[in-house]
Symmetry: T
Subunit: 149 residues, 12 copies
Amino acid sequence: MVIGVVHGPNLNLLGTREPDQYGVTTLDEINRSLSSLGAELGVTVEAVQSNHEGVLIDAIQAGRGRWTGVLVNPGGFTHSSVALRDALLAAGVPFVEVHLSNVHAREPFRRQSYFSDVAIGVVCGFGAASYTLGLRGLVARLATSTAGG
Amino acid sequence: MVIGVVHGPNLNLLGTREPDQYGVTTLDEINRSLSSLGAELGVTVEAVQSNHEGVLIDAIQAGRGRWTGVLVNPGGFTHSSVALRDALLAAGVPFVEVHLSNVHAREPFRRQSYFSDVAIGVVCGFGAASYTLGLRGLVARLATSTAGG
Amino acid sequence: MVIGVVHGPNLNLLGTREPDQYGVTTLDEINRSLSSLGAELGVTVEAVQSNHEGVLIDAIQAGRGRWTGVLVNPGGFTHSSVALRDALLAAGVPFVEVHLSNVHAREPFRRQSYFSDVAIGVVCGFGAASYTLGLRGLVARLATSTAGG
Amino acid sequence: MVIGVVHGPNLNLLGTREPDQYGVTTLDEINRSLSSLGAELGVTVEAVQSNHEGVLIDAIQAGRGRWTGVLVNPGGFTHSSVALRDALLAAGVPFVEVHLSNVHAREPFRRQSYFSDVAIGVVCGFGAASYTLGLRGLVARLATSTAGG
Amino acid sequence: MVIGVVHGPNLNLLGTREPDQYGVTTLDEINRSLSSLGAELGVTVEAVQSNHEGVLIDAIQAGRGRWTGVLVNPGGFTHSSVALRDALLAAGVPFVEVHLSNVHAREPFRRQSYFSDVAIGVVCGFGAASYTLGLRGLVARLATSTAGG
Amino acid sequence: MVIGVVHGPNLNLLGTREPDQYGVTTLDEINRSLSSLGAELGVTVEAVQSNHEGVLIDAIQAGRGRWTGVLVNPGGFTHSSVALRDALLAAGVPFVEVHLSNVHAREPFRRQSYFSDVAIGVVCGFGAASYTLGLRGLVARLATSTAGG
Amino acid sequence: MVIGVVHGPNLNLLGTREPDQYGVTTLDEINRSLSSLGAELGVTVEAVQSNHEGVLIDAIQAGRGRWTGVLVNPGGFTHSSVALRDALLAAGVPFVEVHLSNVHAREPFRRQSYFSDVAIGVVCGFGAASYTLGLRGLVARLATSTAGG
Amino acid sequence: MVIGVVHGPNLNLLGTREPDQYGVTTLDEINRSLSSLGAELGVTVEAVQSNHEGVLIDAIQAGRGRWTGVLVNPGGFTHSSVALRDALLAAGVPFVEVHLSNVHAREPFRRQSYFSDVAIGVVCGFGAASYTLGLRGLVARLATSTAGG
Amino acid sequence: MVIGVVHGPNLNLLGTREPDQYGVTTLDEINRSLSSLGAELGVTVEAVQSNHEGVLIDAIQAGRGRWTGVLVNPGGFTHSSVALRDALLAAGVPFVEVHLSNVHAREPFRRQSYFSDVAIGVVCGFGAASYTLGLRGLVARLATSTAGG
Amino acid sequence: MVIGVVHGPNLNLLGTREPDQYGVTTLDEINRSLSSLGAELGVTVEAVQSNHEGVLIDAIQAGRGRWTGVLVNPGGFTHSSVALRDALLAAGVPFVEVHLSNVHAREPFRRQSYFSDVAIGVVCGFGAASYTLGLRGLVARLATSTAGG
Amino acid sequence: MVIGVVHGPNLNLLGTREPDQYGVTTLDEINRSLSSLGAELGVTVEAVQSNHEGVLIDAIQAGRGRWTGVLVNPGGFTHSSVALRDALLAAGVPFVEVHLSNVHAREPFRRQSYFSDVAIGVVCGFGAASYTLGLRGLVARLATSTAGG
Amino acid sequence: MVIGVVHGPNLNLLGTREPDQYGVTTLDEINRSLSSLGAELGVTVEAVQSNHEGVLIDAIQAGRGRWTGVLVNPGGFTHSSVALRDALLAAGVPFVEVHLSNVHAREPFRRQSYFSDVAIGVVCGFGAASYTLGLRGLVARLATSTAGG
């Protein structure tokens, strides 16, 4: 079982960018902890980050048929990218939306997401832990649906 | 370290009410799995459920000074109870908001929460697992702030 | 066949409160006329009134499995109580929403109901007769669905 | 005492049009059941249906002085016809608004009515029974006002 | 020079309908006073009234080429009839919108007009005098544009 | 019978300012034609113009007891001055609102008036003729109310 | 296979009315080109135009059972007629909405249609060609659904 | 003359809860200062506090006939409880709404009150002094209406 | 300690203007009662009234450095004057906003204030007593901040 | 005459992605049918698809001077890309907007387009046929303007 | 070439009022630096400041024919004064709008300007430098239009 | 001191694209004049333009630590790109937003910017001069903050 992990724009800066808002953990550390947790949960993790919406869409399209679920932090694309939403819908597998910060406690426009209503679940506000919580939730859900039917 | 768990109205019906929407796990099973996870994480869990907003507020007030964090699923009060929000703010400890279903995929009014902007984080859509993910996130956050300062 | 009748806050004052707006019939008289009409239509009527939202939710939960339909005048909860809405949905039986006054002819906020879109029908504006009309409509609908399948 | 019954556009199709939405009773059957109920309640019923807004306005104007109340299902005109509203106001007698389907459970635009705030009451969602309930409510109200003053 | 006068729905009731709101002058009297004033101003007046939107549109189309201006009280169609607006635009001559009552002092929906932004001017609130004032204004305007170029 | 005429800001520029929008008649010419029409109608006209909101309010206050009606073109204050509205209400006599241009055909903010809902009538779009039409309408209304009661 | 073609109000003026906006082709020419194209595509075309909403509804009702699809240009009724929408829904066959002009490039109210969300497709902005494009699209769709199941 | 004082949810925490926002005075101290001021002004004060909306409604109903005015700080219920509003209206006596903090300087939702438009007056922002100012204002008003008629 | 009292437009008419809305007390009487209460509370009161926004701004600027607090009834400027708001902010001392009438019970636009969110408190609805209550509240607040720090 | 065809994000998946929503025709098949129809209509077709907004903008810029019209399906960029809109405007040639699905029958955000108001026409809902209809419409329009001047 | 410089209310306080928000430069210093820069650019600068909207309008009217451009900081009038906007439009020369602070980073109401859409350009956020930048931009624009035609 | 200059999509077309709207100066000319002005002001200028949002974000990230300020014309991304906003925030240096055209005088959606509230200042409407004015303003601000602390 392979889980795609999609990191949106500016997340490559993690650990250096506005640490008060986003914490000090780097993206590499997050990816390593996801791999490690994935191993524990019996899934392989494939991560991609880009500041280019098109690169992310290409990656999601490339993951079709191979990924059985997606963990996505759309970053700034959360509030603007119907194209990324459509790519995830076209992927045809469940996905979980995560955010490092609590988007509900920031600028009003950050409360509008093009992903939440078609995600299976949403996790936000826990810093780097949002990712590991999201992965746990995604895998649990996939386990259930595989088992149940 | 004691974590208060607050279940809002109708959650006592879990396992019997609209299983397509809310799953088949009962509230007792959720509380037991939270206790069990709490033990693993080194925290004690105290759970309360009521269909009465006032009872929940009383319970939160009673937890002041004893609870170091709160895990709350406000249920239907999510969208209407400023009084419950105020009780949590008055408690003066961090809280996490969880929902069994993905509130973003339901009626529009369920996207408005009186809790999300003052919670430290939000988890929704994972069924009973929303609670355990939320507890993990809450304890991780408490650990960080205790350690860091 | 048992029909639950749920009267919201302040309806215990009927007959004494703002008679221009709400008429002079008391709640007891309404309940008696519902029982009497119920007898005529072949249903038993069980009425509850409370100023406490939680008491009404508890009552609806208690009626699960025994009530085959609900007649509800949510009073002031009409415009604020998602929890009561959820309780009725969890009851899993058809319900009819009634109001003594014509809510469309009063303050704008009274035009927003958390019940109308999930009720089978709505009756308002006929004073105490709203209840008996609602009961007739509910029983007719139940008869149809029982007969038809 | 004569009650005008005004059926709006497309209601002539009743029984054949979208039976899932509107039921299998025909308009003739509805009119006959209204006449029959009217006889029981001591009122005469005069029904008109048209797909032409102007014909309905003409009919309402013609009923002035003869009709003591109106039962109106404005159909699609509910959401657009100020002219029909004005005709009913000019008639100077109480009227009741009825709908076969529950307008609150359909497209959002069906929740806006140009009639509800000036009707004495509204009944919706009970199929053909909405009419008979509405007639009962109207006659009860007329009886009260005649008796009382 | 011929001026078309278009009276919308329910205006045939003038003098009998809600005199507090609309005054006691009849439509015939209004038409006679317009003819009389028209004679004084050197224009012929052709009036039409209908409760049927289509009849009014037909009349306006029939007036094309013969009418050099239009005085229109769209009545209830003011707030709903794009078709009537389009007919007036297609007529290709200036028109003035008049209302007996002050539409700004009534229900909020009466403040929205499909005519005002394409009329040359608007007169409301003066009862029957709104018509004569509107005719004066229209003729003055036509005189100016004829004279000036 | 004295009619106050209140001209708002920038109307002193009439005849020189944006003639396409406002025409070539000067304010003096308007005042003279109002005086002349007033004489014909049996009323005296007192005109004031200022670019200062306070001066206009002072003038309206000074006219209390002496003016039996007011003709007001609030100019740019139409959309912003509650204080001027309050002054007119405090004057306790009927007033008519006039505009040279058709405010409904310009910027959207010009469709919002703080005067229309408390005026007896509104005239707009006829250039300088808006004033004389407004005066005719006002005097006719005053005549009616004086005669009638 | 018979296709109903429904032309809304003022479309009888085509070729003479505002040619900049609507072109110089007459309605007869449009109907003839539709018949001609229909012959080519193997369908018969029946056209109706009226300025009367009721006449159009009557015609659509009369076409039930005979028409297998509808091509409709609701004209000014696009933005106001729920009754016409309901008639088309009651017809129970697919329909295509067409407009001569690009409704998105005109007044804001022209962007709201009561037809688009229940049409199978929409074509606008191509002048008379909007009709022939719409007929092609409709017939192609009907062919597909007939062939496919 | 007896004045009911109604304290909404969480106000029992006063003096300990968020002192920056709500001050250091306890609820007991507020009640005592109201009693003391009441004695000075010649009225008796009866105070109730609850976190349960239903308890407050019951108390207001119980005060009917005995209370001649009400001083109410609805706390979090300010923005959600139509039921409490209705209870106060049913009480049929004047009431004053008070808030410790300046609700206009906080979250936007705190600017919406279900009480202000039916209160005789509102006082907010003065901490515990809001109550005493409110009591003074209420008693002054009651004195006036008693004296004047 | 000197308190500036700023009365907005039309308040000079108090006692004569719309007594049902604003009471019979004159502005002089209000000023005298404020002086008298000020003496009791140990503060001097300086009052200014003008119908000219600029005069009020000038006065507030002149009071800088001398006034330690401001009591302001902005009248009609409440809803429109950012300039007056800015003047008060520039004064750099606390101010209280008062209104004679209950602004929440009047036209909707009166619920929007440019002052409330930057005032320390708001009092409305008590007629002339709003001023004395406001002065009490202001002085109490000033006393607290002086004493505390 | 060369027509640019611009396919937005995810359209490369056509035929495999959500066939219920988007049909089974592939993008290659669409491009071939456009070429074929183009040949018939006397135009050459140049198609580009990308998931990268920047690539599409570059392509449109490269087509300047060579393309005489554009057929564009902006896909998910329809609702978000002002940059793509600007590129098309900068191209200075007419363009037609097409969509496979009926965007009016889907999520509300799909009804907002940054292209429709500056396109010459819009076609949606006909699956792959939307493209060929759009091309026909575009070529017809170009023919007209070339011929007419 | 003379440039009018118009300073709105409270700008006379510059250098003393809220220096964090508005800086420490005085209005005199700004005017001197504008004169100096004007000399360098070949224009004469005439500055006016007032807290009275009417005085500013009078000044702009007085500048007609003499001023070839205007630099305006409307201060608090930015968001409320249609009268000032109209005065600038009546002046018939280009104007530039400047603000000391970044109005987009403050209260939401400060983002609405009655000037921006009719200005040639807007500069904000640079403190006193906003004026000199605005003057440079204005003079450059005037130079262009004079030179170009 | 190095200033990054970021040009958004389609700005490479400057001088050729819609000259009425955007002027005849090319991007190269703008960059040269910025370099030249930069030399005069003591700063080095580094310019980047792309039609690809991702390229711009990459460039801004690459400028971190080297750029001490940014001058950005986000072009069409102004209204849609939260990702670009986030990149600028992550850069952690002040930036100025510029536009060639006056965005307030164009389509309504151009008045919404994701940059203005976090920029230090905004300049728009001066054509190519917007850039040089913006650079002056930025450098002045940087000088101040460097000097002051």
